[in-house]
């Protein structure tokens, strides 16, 4: 059981949870940064989380290069579109 817990999956879950709290704090701390920058930070964190899930939980990390390129292209394209729209 220990070998199932001390894994990359658990580390991924811990990072995902931590950055969720960070994002939440950014959203709920008015005045620390401008709403515009806060929105950009929240979007970047969300896409970072999405990428972690895709690479580690979905195991695209181990998949052929083309799949990783498609995943990264999707994240990059979405990032540019979403950040462009909140600016």
């Amino acid at each position: 059981m220990k070998s199932l817990i001390l894994t990359r999956m658990t580390l991924t879950w811990m990072i995902l949870s931590s950055v969720t709290i960070f994002s939440w704090a950014v959203s709920h701390s008015p005045g620390v940064t401008s709403p515009r920058y806060a929105s950009v930070i929240i979007i970047v964190v969300a896409l970072f989380k999405a990428r972690l899930v895709i690479l580690n939980f979905m195991e695209v990390r181990l998949a052929p290069r083309m799949m990783r390129l498609i995943a990264d292209a999707w994240i990059a394209l979405l990032g540019v579109s979403l950040i462009g729209l909140v600016q």
Binding site: T12, I43, A46, A50, L62, P64, R65, L85
Partner: protein
């Protein structure tokens, strides 16, 4: 298990079935359109969207995010257990993931009820049209994912482990992770972006 990471080696392998990935890519593109549509409308009606966001129950949103992330951990770890031919542990982990999914649905029910009681419906304004439509379509994915998880639990108990069986289990797991990815972005856009 393949460990090479540079894609040049033949040992790089695609988890799950190709068909599942095609479906997932299609679904991601449709949701990407939702995300862009939401921010486009937000840009047009910023005061309405900013005021409406304040009516969302942030606690429910945050709990649901943790339920989704944790359920994904359960599913990913279940697959690791299945690869060791430990269907007992794998099945239990999948059941825990299913329970997180049920928790998500329950919270969503409470959240929708709260909104409806407050007189906030699908046609209140563009923010809430997006909110109900997108979270509703996502909720449908959660329910579908729970049906998939239930099928995987039963499937994992039947017959010996083989490459094909593991591949099918991986395909179901990938669908559940998709539901997680979509929620991560939805949560950020609907609940957090001010």
């Amino acid at each position: 298990m393949a460990t090479f990471d540079d894609g040049k080696h033949s040992r790089a392998r695609m988890p799950g079935e190709v068909g599942v990935w095609v479906f997932i890519l299609g679904d991601m593109l449709i949701f990407s359109l939702f995300f862009v549509v939401f921010l486009f409308y937000r840009r047009e009606e910023l005061p309405v969207f900013t005021a409406s966001r304040k009516h969302l129950n942030q606690t429910y949103g945050l709990i649901n995010t943790f339920l989704m992330l944790t359920s994904s951990w359960f599913v990913a770890t279940a697959i690791q257990a299945m690869r060791r031919h430990d269907s007992r542990t794998g099945g239990r982990l999948l059941a825990c993931a299913w329970a997180c999914g049920a928790g998500f649905v329950m919270i969503k029910y409470l959240e929708y009820s709260e909104k409806i009681r407050a007189g906030i419906g699908l046609t209140t304004n563009d923010f809430f049209t997006c909110y109900y439509m997108f979270t509703g379509i996502h909720l449908f994915h959660v329910l579908l994912g729970m049906a998939v998880l239930a099928a995987l639990i039963s499937y994992s108990k039947r017959g010996p482990f083989a490459v094909a069986k593991l591949r099918n289990l991986e395909s179901g797991a990938i669908f559940w992770h998709l539901v997680d990815v979509l929620w991560i972005v939805l949560f950020a856009l609907l609940y957090l972006v001010d």
